[in-house]
């Protein structure tokens, strides 16, 4: 797959306008790129120590959070990416786990929701992020899980999906976050699986790709958001996997590597990751299977939760 060449190239190409516009989310980029490499059995192509050193340079020891890049403010969005990357390398030992867990759990609000940082923006994305981060660190007990779950449930819509906040419209990305958070906390019974499953499977468009909301265009990134949600609620058989795989492969840049949002558009790391992750969820040959809730390779998640801990 041409992805590998594209990924390695991207890690060196920091000065283009495209890279600069994304500079503030470089830590997310690291997670997307490195997870993709791992899914393709190529994580050893990077120098783990170098990566970890850079990750830790985004850390804010006074708060316990990570910024999107060196010098950028801490936020849960990047803290989760940092934790996930460290999980890939099995190197959570470099973290002050208690401090990081305190940072994310400290952002829970009275109503059970979570802010993304000290400035108070509330979104169900942050609920997922905090819950996922704490679970990976074995510190879920630091938050009021019941309240967190109740808040997510209050964002459930009449179409079975979830929005960013109570009353917010259902959106596949947001649905992933809410379903993921409920999955990790053993609370999927709050979901009407048939209702949501049908809404999600109707995201498959004629050309095989998935969209994020009704009457929108298909986009490779929804291969992840929709598929992972469908898997968590055991309804993934309701879509046509072959057609979706074809759509993703059609979005590959066969000359230079990488995957784009739609056929013949410009490739980027975000869509490359989501394309490969989508293929992984469909058991595509040569790609490692992925866990739909923690968004990490299955072997990494199994190691974290099944390995005997002291």
């Amino acid at each position: 797959m041409g992805c590998l060449r594209f990924l390695l190239l991207l890690m060196q190409k920091k000065d283009s306008f495209e890279s600069l516009v994304m500079e503030h989310i470089r830590l997310n980029g690291a997670y997307w790129g490195l997870t993709t490499l791992d899914l393709l059995h190529k994580l050893d192509a990077v120098d783990a120590d170098e990566v970890i050193q850079w990750i830790m340079s985004c850390y804010h020891p006074e708060s316990g959070g990570f910024g999107g890049n060196v010098g950028h403010d801490p936020h849960v969005l990047y803290t989760l990416s940092a934790v996930q990357v460290l999980c890939l390398f099995d190197r959570l030992d470099v973290l002050d786990v208690d401090k990081v867990a305190d940072y994310v759990s400290g952002l829970q609000n009275e109503d059970g929701s979570f802010s993304g940082d000290i400035w108070g923006e509330v979104d169900t994305r942050f609920s997922y992020i905090v819950i996922c981060t704490l679970a990976l660190l074995h510190h879920l007990h630091k938050i009021n899980v019941q309240k967190a779950v109740d808040y997510i449930v209050s964002c459930k819509n009449l179409d079975g999906g979830f929005g960013a906040m109570p009353g917010g419209e259902s959106h596949a990305g947001q649905i992933f976050c809410c379903v993921g958070a409920l999955a990790i906390t053993g609370s999927l019974h709050h979901i009407d699986r048939d209702l949501l499953g049908w809404w999600l499977c109707e995201r498959q468009c004629k050309e095989g790709g998935l969209n994020g909301r009704p009457e929108k265009l298909a986009d490779v990134c929804y291969s992840w958001w929709v598929l992972s949600s469908l898997i968590m609620i055991d309804r993934v058989h309701w879509i046509d996997k072959d057609k979706l795989a074809k759509f993703i492969l059609n979005c590959q840049d066969k000359e230079n590597g990488g995957i784009s949002d739609r056929p013949d558009n410009a490739v980027d790391i975000y869509h490359t990751y989501f394309g490969v992750a989508g293929l992984s969820l469909m058991e595509y040959p040569g790609v490692k299977p992925m866990d739909p809730a923690y968004a990490l390779p299955l072997d990494v998640v199994n190691r974290i939760f099944l390995r005997k801990r002291d």
Partner: protein
């Protein structure tokens, strides 16, 4: 990076791109420097303005501006100066939104400013901005979220907002965002019983009319169909939970025994149905209650049990469900019968009743309001001759679904009208529902576009909704008619929309199960009493080669002891947990792909024989029930002792965790698993024998 064409860089563009990149790099560096040195001068703020105009996603720059705003505010005392400072911020947001109308950072900056409540908000400006944005993109969910925020912030009545959604829908029917907001507002108004919204029936009738207009205008647009589905769901389900079945059923007279000689007993009165109840060996008799929707709150006080048998205080109602939720369709309690002194023909009667109670509630919070009362009688036989578990089954059971069922012996313990619930309130409610649904049915049968998949699907759903209401009455013939027509529609849909084939197959499977079991005459073709050598007679149901993909209507199968579901396409057996008398289950030749998918079976204490041959266990690396049932990943099961036990025997826990969780919780005597990928894996047999020591036959061969 969405929607950017993939084109090779032209050399003449390179210089311009470099210059643009250099400018951005420069701005980013300077803004971060000012942020770190807490420089909040006018000039410094100007740089952040430029950066955000170019790249609204630079979140640290928004944080920087908030800090600067707070810092500079300290120096301002006059309202005008504060206003102008706020105005600067609002302008940055507007310019940033022009660059990216979906910038999270920009939208939040605006909300944050308003929430500071430092100056009166110019709502005309705010709604003006929104109108402009939603005109460009009527689906911008940031815009809609902001609109809901504003409406709440300034206390706009929800009735007003409801009008706005109608305006938007009239502009363009294909506006899912507007339909969505409408559903939210309407639910709120109905719940609060606001003036003009007291009658759900009146409001819903109007809504049906509105949405039908949209559907007939453009049947290929999804937006209206989802709204219609919501209305339909609200119209077809009863408001309050209802008890729809039980075991034993009302009026049942059972002669219960725990050993195989049961049928030979001559002193059994003829009106009694003999049933061999395996759980009696453990001294318990299960009582199962089945509701039309998941409920919680069954306790000795919300369900009263009276009996001439000493019921005792330790009655515990347990929800039977795969998920660990407290809510369930199906509840069980075990009557203790072991300490009874039996005379050969003593009869015991049990009365169960559920009054109106606020203790039993559905997921939506509505409470139980249709009182039921039922009684059954049983006569224990031979309970004292306790034998060892394995003695019950002397020889391995072999299944043969090609053999026709013996027609002369039929289970006598089942009744078609398991519970007669007569409640005037429900009848009245159903009447409106049925009329409404019939109107819709007539309408959709006339929809001109014959090949619209949504039209067909909606028609099928309407038919099933009517069928469900019919089951509350007694018109089973009509019910069969609805099922028949719906089956035809699902068959059409499988061809019309092959991408979602398996969705329609699941739906079809449920309708098929409904059709097969809804009347006794047709159901009896699949039922028999199985008299196997050396085994007590078992109530047997054989549903083979029917292309079933999932299980439904289990409330009609509560009495089944031996169930053959082989040669179907089952990938899920959810629902079978309700079958508390099941002893033998054959699910061979299906598509079950993991042990977590078999979790329902761990709820059945009586299960002894299980045939899993020729399924897909071990074939798929992605497990789709990994999060449905309690696992270490969902934080409902801690890595258990069984894991350690397996580790000691060199069994790979990361590979076999789902098998370990399954075999730890069952007590099988016979298991078939050939024809699954997992069968060939090293250590799997060791795992089974270690965790399930009662096992006697594995794949037909004796273990010991």
């Amino acid at each position: 990076m969405h929607g950017r064409p993939r084109r090779p860089d032209k050399p003449e563009d390179a210089a311009a791109a470099d210059a643009k990149a250099a400018k951005l790099r420069d701005l980013q560096t300077q803004v971060l420097r000012n942020h770190h040195s807490r420089t909040y001068s006018k000039e410094a703020l100007g740089l952040s303005f430029k950066l955000l105009e170019l790249n609204p996603e630079a979140y640290t720059a928004w944080n920087y501006r908030k800090l600067a705003f707070q810092h500079n505010l300290g120096e301002l005392s006059e309202l005008e100066a504060i206003k102008s400072s706020i105005d600067d911020e609002l302008r940055v947001v507007e310019l940033a939104l022009r660059q990216n109308p979906k910038s999270y950072g920009a939208w939040y900056h605006r909300k944050w400013l308003l929430n500071q409540k430092l100056a009166p908000v110019d709502f005309k400006r705010e709604f003006g901005l929104l109108d402009k944005l939603l005109k460009v993109d009527a689906r911008n969910f940031h815009g809609w979220n902001y609109r809901r925020f504003l409406a709440k912030f300034m206390g706009v009545p929800e009735e007003e907002e409801l009008k706005y959604t109608k305006d938007k829908i009239s502009d363009n029917f294909s506006n899912y965002s507007a339909w969505h907001n409408r559903s939210i507002l309407l639910s709120n108004l109905l719940t609060q019983q606001r003036k003009g919204f007291e009658s759900k029936q009146k409001i819903f009738s109007e809504e049906f009319e509105l949405v039908t207009q949209a559907l007939f205008t453009d049947p290929s647009d999804q937006s209206g169909w989802f709204y219609h589905l919501w209305l339909l769901a609200q119209t077809s389900s009863p408001e309050n939970p209802q008890l729809i079945a039980s075991w034993p059923s009302n009026g049942a007279k059972l002669s219960l025994s725990s050993v195989r000689e049961a049928n030979d007993k001559q002193n059994t009165p003829s009106s009694f149905s003999s049933i061999c109840c395996y759980s009696l060996k453990e001294g318990i008799l299960p009582i199962v209650l089945f509701f039309n929707e998941p409920v919680k709150g069954l306790t000795p006080s919300s369900v009263s049990l009276n009996s001439d048998l000493v019921v005792g205080k330790n009655i515990q109602w347990r929800p039977l469900s795969v998920t660990d939720s407290g809510h369930s369709y199906c509840w069980v309690t075990y009557l203790e019968v072991s300490n009874l002194e039996y005379c050969s023909s003593q009869q015991f009667s049990v009365e169960a009743s559920i009054p109106n109670t606020d203790d039993i509630v559905s997921r939506s919070g509505s409470s139980y309001n249709c009182p039921v009362h039922f009684t059954f009688t049983f006569e224990p036989n031979n309970i004292d001759s306790i034998t060892e578990d394995t003695d019950l089954i002397h020889d391995p059971i072999s299944w043969d679904c090609s053999e026709p069922l013996p027609s002369h012996v039929k289970p006598s313990c089942i009744h078609s009208d398991q519970l007669k619930i007569t409640n005037a309130l429900i009848q009245e409610e159903s009447k409106w529902h049925l009329e409404r649904l019939s109107d819709e049915l007539d309408l959709f049968r006339e929809l001109p576009d014959d090949n619209s998949k949504f039209a067909k699907l909606t028609l099928a759903r309407l038919l099933l909704a009517c069928a469900a209401i019919k089951s509350r009455g007694s018109s089973l013939i009509e019910r069969r008619g609805y099922c028949e027509e719906a089956l035809g529609l699902f068959n059409d849909l499988i061809y019309l929309d092959p991408s979602h084939k398996r969705y329609y197959e699941d739906e079809r499977s449920l309708v098929l199960m409904d059709q097969l079991t809804c009347n006794m005459e047709s159901f009896m073709k699949y039922c028999s009493v199985q008299v196997l050598p050396n085994l007590a007679p078992l109530n047997h149901v054989q549903l083979c080669r029917l292309s079933l993909t999932c299980i439904g209507f289990v409330e009609r199968l509560l009495w089944v002891q031996m169930l053959d579901l082989s040669h179907n396409n089952l990938r899920s057996i959810e629902g079978l947990e309700a079958l508390q008398h099941l002893v033998c289950l054959n699910v061979s030749n299906n598509q079950i792909s993991s042990f977590t998918a078999l979790k329902p079976l761990t709820e059945i204490l009586s299960l002894k024989v299980l045939d899993l041959s020729f399924n897909e266990i071990g074939t798929h690396p992605i497990n789709t029930t990994r999060y449905i049932c309690p696992t270490p990943f969902s934080h409902k099961v801690e890595a258990c002792e069984a894991f350690e036990e397996c580790q000691k025997k060199n069994i790979n826990v990361e590979e076999f965790w789902d098998a370990i969780l399954f075999f730890k919780h069952v007590n099988l005597v016979q298991l078939g698993f050939e024809g699954n990928a997992i069968a060939n894996k090293e250590n799997f047999r060791t795992l089974v024998v270690t965790l399930n020591p009662s096992i006697k036959w594995l794949d037909g061969a004796c273990v010991h």
